[in-house]
């Protein structure tokens, strides 16, 4: 039983008045008093997508973030935490939060409040319902980031894919300069570029796109023991770039073939 009441000023002690007619909290029972607003966390439900194991402390943090965001904004359709934070372990730098809303929301203010009140460095992306649906249909990156996530509300992840080759060409451009910038890119940048191209490749083949699937394909294509070799920036440059250029050109040619055939959807 929860009762919300106001503290009133007394002469020697302050007090809280509660109604005499109540279902519980009998006279003489011990109660816990806590603020009705502020940092108190309600028990809120979350939905797991592709997350097999996650540390309880992280789930608590996620619930606190959801609670804080819900306090700040009201017109949201869903809140989704994704990225390294939902991976097992504590190798994350920030928390990626997707706010699904058709309203204009100042994400910088939300990021600031989450950082100030919870001490969590949140990276917030705002998308509309329409954009999310379009992304899940035609954008391998959306499929990748939402293959493993924790959401405040249920959402439909399995939407029929649509191959828009011109959009895929745009996506692939993000991976184009890896060879040229190889020496100056960090391991994380390199991994993101490789991951992007491989996710597009899997999308073209209509295969499942998830973190594990993409990493497995990276290992296969570039003959690596682990994707950590890319993330830790310990790749053998000549051998890797030879394979990367061949792979990139292969993906590019496949996309151009699609563009030529004028196939917008399959």
């Amino acid at each position: 039983m929860v009762i919300i009441s106001r503290i009133s000023k007394g002469s020697k002690m302050d007090q809280i008045y509660i109604p005499k007619n109540r279902a519980g909290l009998g006279v003489g029972s011990y109660v816990l008093i806590s603020p009705a607003s502020g940092k108190q966390v309600r028990e809120i439900g979350v939905y797991y997508y592709g997350v097999r194991g996650i540390e309880p402390i992280k789930v608590r943090i996620i619930k606190e973030i959801f609670s804080e965001v819900e306090r700040l904004i009201h017109n949201w359709n869903n809140l989704i935490i994704t990225g390294s934070f939902v991976e097992e372990g504590f190798g994350f730098r920030d928390v990626d939060l997707l706010i699904v809303s058709d309203e204009k929301i100042n994400t910088k203010i939300v990021e600031g409040a989450v950082s100030e009140n919870l001490g969590v460095n949140a990276h917030i992306l705002l998308v509309s319902e329409k954009m999310l649906a379009a992304g899940l249909k035609s954008d391998p990156f959306y499929l990748l980031i939402l293959s493993k996530c924790i959401a405040r509300r249920r959402f439909v992840y399995n939407i029929k894919r649509e191959l828009n080759y011109k959009i895929l060409d745009l996506h692939l451009l993000k991976s184009r300069n890896l060879s040229e910038n190889f020496d100056s890119l960090s391991g994380k940048d390199k991994y993101n570029m490789v991951r992007n191209a491989v996710a597009i490749w899997l999308f073209l083949k209509n295969e499942k796109i998830g973190v594990e699937e993409v990493n497995k394909e990276i290992r296969r294509i570039f003959e690596l023991k682990s994707v950590e070799e890319i993330k830790l920036n310990i790749l053998g440059k000549t051998d890797f770039l030879k394979k990367y250029k061949r792979f990139y050109n292969n993906v590019f040619e496949k996309i151009m073939k699609g563009v030529k055939n004028g196939a917008k959807s399959k």
């Binding site: 998308v127 509309s128 011109k166 745009l170 993000k174 910038n181």
Partner: protein, 114 residues
């Protein structure tokens, strides 16, 4: 890693080319009433833009027009055209080659090269 000036300029050019190509292709893809999606994809050029900017900041004079500005501009225009013509030759339609120079000038202006 210490990089010499001409290498830095080459790296800058490569990334600037990517930014311009991305912007022109965006128009080819999204000028069909899907402005909202176009806005989302606009953010994706940021990566190349940020990398190009990082290189630009390392090329002296960082806060003035580059002495090689004309040469850099010409190289970018040539490479952007090559990238776009490659796509056109493969059947890509709707690419506006006429916007290359103005788009290059815009990007170079944003980066403080011209």
């Amino acid at each position: 890693m210490v990089q010499n000036r001409s290498r830095l300029i080459e790296l800058f050019i490569g990334n600037a080319v990517n930014v311009v190509v991305h912007r022109i292709l965006e128009k080819a893809v999204f000028d069909f009433g899907t402005a909202e999606l176009g806005e989302k994809y606009r953010n994706e050029t940021l990566n190349s833009f940020e990398i190009a900017k990082r290189y630009r900041e390392k090329i002296n004079p960082a806060d003035k027009v580059l002495p090689e500005a004309v040469e850099v501009r010409e190289k970018i225009i040539r490479r952007v055209r090559a990238e776009l013509e490659l796509r056109i030759s493969k059947g890509y339609s709707g690419i506006n080659l006429g916007s290359v120079e103005s788009e290059v000038d815009r990007v170079l202006g944003e980066m403080g090269v011209v």
